[in-house]
């Protein structure tokens, strides 16, 4: 047991080291790509808290991603930088508050109905923003200057510098991972996992499960807002697509592909999906076809996602050993 944990810890450390060393050898394109992947990894990890840990399959997670992005846009004047220290907390607050309100409404439903009502909200936001001239409508809106990290006259880092942006995002991804680890080990974390496995028993033990689910929803939504904020900061552009079901679906795919049984699974999923997309897009204009086939294959062959692959291999090896014996 502890041997595999040691291996895991080592692999994670190596991965962080590799990511930290990456800017030294990567060109501009790949630097931006990996930054984007890490932002999506934060998004996917936040959804995993809902789906993998609490057992709430939400197709509406993009709402909070979009809110984080659009808050930055709204707070960014056309030719100046918004203050990071004002706009980021604002984005998190908006996403978190929205999660509180929406969660309060949707968590009354369960099962497929829950999936659908979250889908309803994500589509509502999509259509609302599309129809809103103030927010740029279907054309979207630009953020011309990246947020400024100046505080008390000192600028500790500049998000306009690609390498520094990369490191900020890497730090945030690591911090998100650590935060989720801490939360999952806490009584709260154990409780939501209990809810995922057997909500009825949790209630009969005395847990007010609605409160737990709502808290999970709010934490996940706030983290999604964080991802959305930096997505907008990176590309300087927001559009209603950030709110729609496709964006929600992408996050869900990353979580499932990466495997819901682990915390690092969604990170794997994010890397796998985006890198695969880049690779396929280079090969053919009809890249969605092999992408679709890959997804189907992955679902059939990897019931626990990529993160569950070690476990699957272990079980397969054990079975082989038993057969040979």
């Amino acid at each position: 047991m502890s041997r595999s944990r040691l291996v895991l810890g080592l692999v994670l450390l190596l991965a962080i080291a590799a990511l930290a060393a990456f800017p030294a050898m990567a060109d501009r394109f790949y630097l931006q790509l990996v930054s984007k992947i890490m932002i999506m990894a934060i998004f996917a990890m936040s959804l995993n808290l809902l789906v993998g840990c609490t057992g709430l399959v939400s197709l509406g997670h993009a709402v909070f991603f979009g809110l984080g992005a659009y808050t930055l846009m709204v707070m960014s004047p056309p030719d100046e930088a918004a203050s990071l220290w004002l706009s980021l907390p604002a984005a998190l607050a908006v996403a978190g508050l929205a999660a509180l309100l929406i969660g309060f409404l949707v968590l009354r439903s369960s099962g497929v109905y829950f999936i659908m009502v979250t889908l309803a909200f994500t589509q509502m936001f999509f259509y609302y923003v599309t129809g809103s001239k103030a927010l740029g409508g279907s054309d979207g809106a630009y953020i011309y200057v990246k947020p400024d990290a100046m505080v008390l006259g000192v600028t500790p880092f500049s998000l306009a510098d690609r390498v520094q942006f990369y490191y900020v995002v890497l730090l945030l991804m690591a911090a998100t991972y650590l935060l989720l680890r801490i939360v999952l080990r806490s009584p709260f974390g154990h409780a939501i996992q209990g809810i995922r496995v057997n909500e009825r028993r949790m209630r009969s033990l005395g847990f007010p499960t609605f409160r737990y689910k709502l808290a999970s929803f709010v934490i996940a939504g706030t983290l999604a807002g964080l991802a959305g904020y930096f997505d907008a900061a990176q590309f300087g552009f927001v559009s209603p697509d950030l709110f729609g079901w496709r964006q929600s679906g992408i996050a869900l795919m990353m979580v499932i592909l990466g495997g819901m049984g682990t915390l690092y699974g969604p990170i794997l999923g994010a890397f796998a999906l985006v890198l695969l997309q880049e690779f396929l897009m280079d090969q053919t204009k009809h890249w969605l076809l092999p992408m679709g086939l890959f997804i189907m294959l992955a679902v059939l062959a990897l019931p626990d996602g990529l993160g569950g692959l070690p476990g699957q291999l272990r079980t397969a090896r054990r079975r082989l050993a038993v057969r040979r014996a």
């Binding site: 009584p187 409780a191 496995v197 949790m202 209630r203 009969s204």
Partner: protein, 252 residues
């Protein structure tokens, strides 16, 4: 005679035209096992479900320490101090035995918002879980994954989880279900020990177990109470023999 811990008055539950439980009244006192027996379909499990909040009653009242609890949600009833065990083992298969109990003990925490300290650092909860495991006789299996337990051990875990919530009232729904002779004897001894500190309602089919541990018996037939009283009186009662015990002896 001290006040009953639980006073059930004219409790009923209808499903459409079917009266699963009708006009049931019962007093539960602390420090003894009150067994509820009856043939299949008598409404015993429905009664437990009504008391635990898993079902909402159609009529009647349930007073727990003077407070009306009929119709409350299961988690509110549980927090008041009434815990139930399930006939079909109802736990968290992937967690270890200890984790199952600790999770149950966590229900006693004042709030849900404990995000940062790891669960194993909560001394009170750990102690409650260990106590429950010791009472149920499962300390040696604390680290085993619940799914790998034998059937008898799983039934023990079911009880341990109920105990970990430090309840005042225990509603035990057929705890001996599917157990062999030796395991049953252990479980009966456990139930006897529990009666000292809790008020226990026991639903069971195993008559030997019931008569060896119960201090009061209530016989239910077709959703109603047929008779209620001390074990000897029930054993001698002609009505009960006809309705139930006779049939059981024929079958045995």
């Amino acid at each position: 005679m001290p006040e009953p811990v639980l006073r059930i008055e004219r409790l009923s539950k209808h499903f459409g035209g079917l009266a699963a439980v009708s006009d049931v009244s019962l007093d539960l006192h602390a420090g003894g096992v009150h067994a509820v027996i009856g043939p299949n379909g008598a409404g015993k499990t429905t009664l437990i479900n009504l008391l635990s909040g898993d079902l909402k009653p159609s009529g009647g009242s349930v007073l727990f320490e003077g407070w009306e609890i009929a119709g409350l949600a299961p988690d509110r009833i549980a927090r008041r101090g009434i815990a139930r065990s399930y006939q079909k083992t109802n736990f968290f298969p992937g967690f270890t035995v200890f984790e199952n109990c600790r999770l149950a003990a966590q229900a006693r925490l004042d709030s849900a918002m404990h995000f940062f300290r790891p669960a194993y650092a909560y001394g009170d909860i750990n102690a409650a879980a260990e106590r429950a495991l010791a009472l149920a006789g499962l300390e040696s299996r604390a680290g085993a994954v619940a799914l790998t337990l034998s059937h008898g051990e799983q039934r023990q875990l079911e009880i341990a989880m109920t105990l970990a919530t430090s309840p005042k009232v225990l509603l035990l729904d057929e705890p001996l279900a599917g157990m062999g002779a030796e395991e049953s004897a252990r479980m009966v001894a456990l139930i006897g020990r529990l009666a000292a500190e809790h008020a226990v309602i026991l639903v069971e089919h195993d008559m030997d177990a019931v008569f060896s541990v119960a201090s009061v018996l209530t016989v239910m037939v077709n959703g109603r109470v047929l008779e209620s009283g001390a074990p000897d009186a029930i054993r001698r009662s002609k009505a009960v023999q006809e309705a139930y015990l006779g049939a059981a002896e024929d079958a045995a």
